[in-house]
Assembly symmetry: C2
């Protein structure tokens, strides 16, 4: 993802989608809503926007399906919910939230997760809802150039949100279609509590995107929280330390962090990261590359 590979129309569409998701989450918080509600609303908006690799517009698996992963975590209680490999749930982040609220478990997968959805009143959608021509074209391009298998998908990122509410609680949510051409029931870091998603009021809330395997091996989201909690690192220092570890493993990506005091970090080692940030003072930022 560089200025050379993104045309003006794509940039404008992504910026508009980011701003809409940011505003949806901000409205929840401005009304006195909770951080966990804000991240659920913001990520739901990104799932419904076909420009992002989550929900509608998710990348295709090797076998031509869309298989979706998502997670949420509430920093106040450290309760969490996650799903992997769902194919018929319009908003996987809302299913993850229902897993957290209503179920005895943290992490459900595959057809079983969708049985749970149905048992809890979440109606399935036709899998065609998720499919877009551009993502299908990307799968076909990847199959035509298999040597590009891992490089090519780095630009098709996961979505995530972190929030801090007026009561000082934090929450994180992450949702993704994973990697274009993924096989073998691959589960990446996004739905793994501690890898791609973590929230703990004693430290902060973290959502990650990037080369998921290295984020799993580093325990990235939990490690950022552990550094803040155990060493007193700032959010930005902890985020950059973990991205450095991931770099040493051969991985790249980015993280967003917010702490209970409102400190934030949006750090990345990719050329760009679609990102946005707002607070109750009126600050409002939407950016893609290192310089904006």
């Amino acid at each position: 993802m560089t200025r050379d590979t993104l045309d003006a129309a794509a940039i404008a569409a992504h910026r508009a989608g980011l701003a809409a998701a940011l505003d949806a989450g901000r409205a929840v918080l401005a009304d006195g809503g909770s951080a966990i509600d804000a991240v659920t609303v913001a990520v739901s908006a990104l799932e419904d926007d076909p420009h992002f690799n989550a929900g509608r517009g998710a990348v295709f698996t090797y076998h031509g399906t869309n298989e979706l992963d998502a997670a949420v975590m509430d920093g106040q209680t450290r309760r969490a919910g996650a799903v992997a490999g769902v194919t018929r749930t319009r908003n996987p982040v809302q299913l993850a939230r229902t897993v957290m609220e209503a179920g005895p478990h943290v992490f459900l997968s595959g057809a079983g997760a969708e049985d749970f959805a149905r048992d809890h009143g979440i109606a399935p959608v036709d899998p065609a809802w998720f499919a877009t021509p551009e993502r299908l074209r990307q799968l076909e391009e990847l199959k035509a150039h298999p040597q590009a298998w891992f490089d090519a998908d780095m630009k098709y990122g996961t979505v995530g949100a972190v929030a801090r509410d007026a009561a000082g609680h934090v929450a994180a949510a992450t949702s993704t279609g994973g990697l274009t051409g993924k096989r073998w029931g691959r589960i990446g870091d996004s739905p793994l509590i501690g890898a791609g998603t973590y929230a703990d009021d004693r430290a902060g809330a973290v959502s990650c995107t990037g080369s998921g395997e290295q984020f799993i091996r580093a325990g990235a989201a939990h490690e950022i929280c552990a550094r803040m909690r155990l060493t007193g690192d700032s959010a930005d220092r902890a985020a950059r330390a973990v991205l450095g570890e991931i770099g040493a493993m051969g991985g790249v990506g980015g993280v967003i962090v917010v702490t209970p005091t409102g400190e934030t970090s949006m750090a990345f080692t990719t050329p760009g990261m679609f990102r946005a940030r707002a607070d109750s003072t009126g600050a409002h930022e939407v950016a893609i590359f290192g310089d904006g």
Copy 2:
């Protein structure tokens, strides 16, 4: 699991299985083998032993199947492999090891994980291999007494191994059938890198058993390593601190830890934990309850 609920024959069978697995792992290390080979061999032995809830003898799901999860991690490289929901792989820990060695991914699930197994020369077994009459009886008992759903399964624990080799490297492996009567494609902590399994030569190797949901929320295995690495905690102090956090969340369980200097911990908050430990000085211990 108390002295009242385990009869003498069951105790003898579990002790014999533990001793056999311990000796298999110890033999690898005594021959100059690696920690990752030792834990793979030890856990494979426990998977093949029908007395333990992993591989043959795994508990049954709500729908009467055996669905198996496993993970391995090498502390030297922090490479890892994991599988969830496999039903036809005799030794899930060996499949997790193959995922680590041969695949581009860390975590595979379901039928896709078994496609990967076949692609890498691991022959499937008949699912009947895993089924034992005692585990089926336990499922039927649980269905007859659904109010006991969560308490009853605490005694049917996950298996795991940690090892430190002559070169000072550490590794961890964990394998399980999960919870009796599990539903909805539930994935517990065992195959989640950072939750039930973690290894890092800068700290130690950890394998966990217990109420998996709380271990996921605490990022238990990674948290133990983070405490050792970032605060200088001993293995035992870090293990007990994390079990304390899990207790505050309403969970119980146990962990085994070894560090690159050979320090160990086998801590648990359940009445007992089947466990065994040996080293190159000739020390050799097999125990179940707090006093042996």
